[in-house]
Symmetry: C2
Amino acid sequence: MSSSRRDRVVELMKEGQRSLVQALEEIDGGGEFGAFSWQRPGGGGGTARVLEEGRVFERAGVNVSAVHGREVPASLVQEHPGIEGKPYFATGISTVLHPRNPYVPAFHANYRYFEVGSETEETDVWWFGGGADMTPNYPFEEDVRHFHGSLKAFCDRHDPNYYLHFKETCDDYFYIKHRGEMRGVGGIFFDELSPAGRGVFERDFAFVQDGIDALTGCYLPIVKRREGTPYGDRERRWQLYRRGRYVEFNLVYDRGTLFGLQTRGNIEAILMSMPPLAHWSFAFEPEAGSLEAEMLAFLQPRDWVGSVGVETAKS
Amino acid sequence: MSSSRRDRVVELMKEGQRSLVQALEEIDGGGEFGAFSWQRPGGGGGTARVLEEGRVFERAGVNVSAVHGREVPASLVQEHPGIEGKPYFATGISTVLHPRNPYVPAFHANYRYFEVGSETEETDVWWFGGGADMTPNYPFEEDVRHFHGSLKAFCDRHDPNYYLHFKETCDDYFYIKHRGEMRGVGGIFFDELSPAGRGVFERDFAFVQDGIDALTGCYLPIVKRREGTPYGDRERRWQLYRRGRYVEFNLVYDRGTLFGLQTRGNIEAILMSMPPLAHWSFAFEPEAGSLEAEMLAFLQPRDWVGSVGVETAKS
């Protein structure tokens, strides 16, 4: 039973990768995804699918990994006493999309599954984690509403409390403390869908399956709407400048990235999230009243879809 | 006496900033340094001098700060028991140079002074720290020999053991663990010139003064030699790719940067070290036999100036 549970999740992740890659190649209409497989010395491995220098995407990556080990990593033991020294299994899909056109937001999503125990001897300690978030450079309210609205719709099909809870966790997580701003406009994020050892597998599996299915619908319509917008040096420069913040978040705060670097995971798969090009400018301030300046107000938590019944005033 | 000691070091740092800025403007022959002053809410402040989009330097920054506080930062107390709860004073100069031409190395140096006690009530607990290191993109042995040779010459004027000791500390410090390579070709680095509370002020002051004076001589001749070398897209791309490593080091490992971000120092002054533009490419491998591939061998510690009597074989 345990092995079939793992197999089902791995198959879900692989199927997610296949369909995402297909949908992204279709919309890109230019680039093709290469496939890079890697092995982990401790057990398992993964396949990174990467498109670079496409028509729509300057870089698009979809990585799936499935690893196992003889002892649960120390960082997880702190949060889950009682699992120390036990074997574990972990699988996940992650995608990071850096579009070329500055008017198209960057996108990130990740769904993952962790299980304590061996293939032959399972425990009930397992959980799903995941989320999806968007990082626009320009403040188009309809884009953000579409994105959050789609995520809310999918969450609401499973539990009326999920969206708001996961949205707030996401706002907290993607916060660049030293800049006092979020990386983007958030989305949803959860560390454990059900607390470890207390999940209902079929229910949680169905939620994650639905979450992976929802990725194209929440994001690709925005790509289609914006990818033809003309832009010049000013917009490109602003995009690269905002990508500097993306780098700062990923290298200073992102738990997945830092965990990967510390445990010496596959470095290229871990840093697939880096933008292809990023810019830093000293003490840069966007022109008052410009769209760039207006964007900064979007980088504070906001109730985008009226989920608590009262719309937050536009600042 | 305490206040005159502090005043002398601050004047040394400011004089270093003035002469560096002048020498860099002269060699750039195009850009001018702006001046950005900042205050620290806890006490003190600084002035960042920054040139962007110059002829030779895509970005050049020279920052001087002098701050004080009522309680020594916790991170320093661990290494120096007995100073907790005491007032402190810290001043320093730091410079980061990102040239435009890929054949010209990037450069970084920092000299700093820390003192426990108040202006009116001094302790004997003070120390100087500092160093200078270089980050080329192309493997020109004569450049690295000139750089290390100049640093050794200045160190040797003060103590025959300094260079090798500080060179090895530098090799250890500027190591990008997750890549298994150094940020550049090293240089010299020291946390405490004399151990806290055991320095001889005039001797240590003279060394740091000489170190600041030596910055132009160890680096600018290399700039002059390379800044006119023709280059194309390939070299520019490689430079931006190598700058990605520079970003990775600074945001993941550099103690000064992380300390600054954690203590919420002036964010623009802290991140002045970021390159203006950086590039990441998935699983990039330079062509076998190319200069780019040959560069990787320069990113492992090497005895550049025969300082232990035996030349390390060129790999």
